[in-house]
């Protein structure tokens, strides 16, 4: 099959997509092939716009929804996109908000994060290792640490109070869920069992997630 004429251009602050033809299925297929070649590179990219001579607004919207929800693209809010943005927002409203976290993308970090290292992700973060003091995790979704969490963890970035932080040993310098910031009580508290932090009635509650152990 010949390439259905998809051109992806990277500009300084995002990417621009040129599309030929007006068959959504074909465009979708071609676009997915292109993206899959380098999925890690494109994930979370900022989409500046979609252009094409035969494009209808409906196809444009479909493509944008695809990019936003399947590939985690960030959409630009410029004039040409306003109308589409509105459609997406109404689409968002219909979704059950609590499910966004459960379905988001997940980044896996292998190894220990040391002081000065930072991981930010537009979804969940799973660390297979320790997070040392001075290291920072920022996630739109949940944060799970399969080790000791001693650094700063910020889950639910940008308005998601359903996000949780869980660790084999939860001893963060500071814990943030959405806009709530808490720190552990003074004094040495060396918990030996796994714990989870979640927001209940605007307070961060920390409890063992395996209470019978």
């Amino acid at each position: 099959m010949s390439n259905t004429g998809i051109t992806i251009k990277g500009v300084s602050d995002g990417i621009f997509i040129y599309v030929e033809g007006n068959d959504y299925e074909k465009i979708k297929e071609a676009l997915e092939i292109k993206l899959r070649e380098n999925i890690e590179f494109f994930r979370g990219s900022k989409l500046i716009g979609i252009e094409g001579e035969e494009l209808t607004l409906d196809i444009k919207t479909e493509i944008m929804l695809l990019l936003k929800y399947k590939y985690d693209f960030v959409l630009m809010k410029d004039d040409t996109l306003n109308q589409i943005q509105k459609k997406i927002e109404t689409f968002d409203e219909h979704k059950n908000v609590t499910n966004i976290v459960e379905e988001g993308m997940t980044k896996f970090v292998h190894g220990t994060l040391r002081s000065g290292q930072e991981v930010s992700y537009n979804g969940n973060i799973v660390v297979i290792g320790d997070v040392n003091p001075g290291a920072v995790l920022r996630a739109k979704g949940n944060i799970i640490v399969l080790g000791l969490l001693r650094g700063i963890a910020h889950a639910g970035l940008g308005g998601n109070k359903n996000a949780v932080v869980a660790a084999y040993s939860l001893l963060p310098t500071q814990l943030r869920i959405d806009d709530i910031i808490v720190r552990p009580p003074e004094g040495d508290s060396h918990y030996k069992y796994p714990e989870i932090a979640r927001v209940i009635e605007n307070k961060v509650i920390i409890e063992p997630y395996l209470p019978n152990k």
């Binding site: 040391r114 000065g116 040392n132 003091p133 001075g134």
Partner: protein, 270 residues
């Protein structure tokens, strides 16, 4: 000169200042020379030169590292032979320049040249993580992290280990300096296990806090040569581990209070 390096370059670094990088470099360099290896200790702390002072070679300096990389002199001319050990050489830092006087590529070239002629190149890195640190690790094959049992030093060591990994120097080895066993026993000082718990790297050795280090540093005679001092013994053990010998006493598994105080008794008779 034939290609193909035979030597190993090891950078001694810490992030934090004042934890004993220079003392450690001088003692490891001297200790390796005592074992019969040819060694160059390279002072990468341009502008704050003091490895020469610790080794008692200050008054012999004519050329320095900046002269070498700028080709004002030959490498051999700048290398200062130690007073006591035939196979130990110092490449001093410049005192009147700053860290911008040497580039990373010049440093790599210099270390590679030294590696062709000597068994060990010990690079004494400056404190911090800026340019001086960057070029001092550039030519290194391995790294030794020096820390003291303080939260600030351990935090900086952790940061440095992360940067080393980003620069493809993996599995650095740790020296914990200035341990005071009496304070550890009272619970007033971080234990070795506390430190290893955070840093999760291989322990190369521990050096107890010892007045003899200060005395020997001021005299310009590395304490590793002192047969009686416990810190000298600690450095000799570290050197043996670097050359691949198994040394039992200060091994990670052996470091517990009982064993350690036995050793103290053995050496101090108390």
């Amino acid at each position: 000169m034939e290609k193909g390096n035979k030597g190993i370059s090891i950078v001694v670094t810490s992030g934090k200042g004042g934890v004993g990088k220079t003392t450690t470099s001088a003692n490891i360099g001297t200790g390796l020379a005592m074992q019969g290896y040819s060694v160059v200790v390279l002072d990468a702390d341009i502008g704050l030169r003091n490895l020469d002072v610790v080794m008692g070679l200050e008054n012999r300096i004519v050329y320095d590292i900046v002269d070498v990389v700028n080709k004002n002199c030959k490498l051999k001319q700048a290398l200062i032979k130690d007073k006591r050990h035939e196979k130990l050489f110092l490449l001093p830092a410049a005192q009147t320049k700053d860290k911008t006087a040497v580039s990373t590529s010049q440093m790599v070239e210099l270390v590679n040249e030294l590696k062709e002629q000597y068994d060990y190149i010990i690079i004494d890195s400056p404190a911090g993580i800026e340019q001086g640190f960057q070029y001092s690790i550039a030519g290194a094959d391995e790294a030794i992290i020096v820390t003291t049992p303080e939260v600030s030093a351990v935090r900086d060591a952790d940061r440095v280990i992360g940067i080393l990994e980003a620069n493809e120097i993996y599995q650095p080895k740790l020296i914990i300096n200035r341990i005071r066993q009496d304070m550890v026993k009272r619970g007033d000082m971080m234990t070795i296990d506390d430190i290893l718990d955070i840093l999760a790297v291989k322990l190369l050795g521990i050096v107890p806090d010892d007045e003899n280090v200060v005395v020997s540093t001021n005299r310009g005679e590395p304490v590793v040569m002192d047969e009686k001092a416990i810190s000298g013994r600690a450095y000799r053990n570290i050197v043996k581990r670097i050359i691949g010998e198994e040394v039992e006493l200060l091994n990670l598994d052996e470091i517990n209070q009982g064993r350690f105080s036995k050793m103290m008794k053995l050496f101090f008779g108390r």
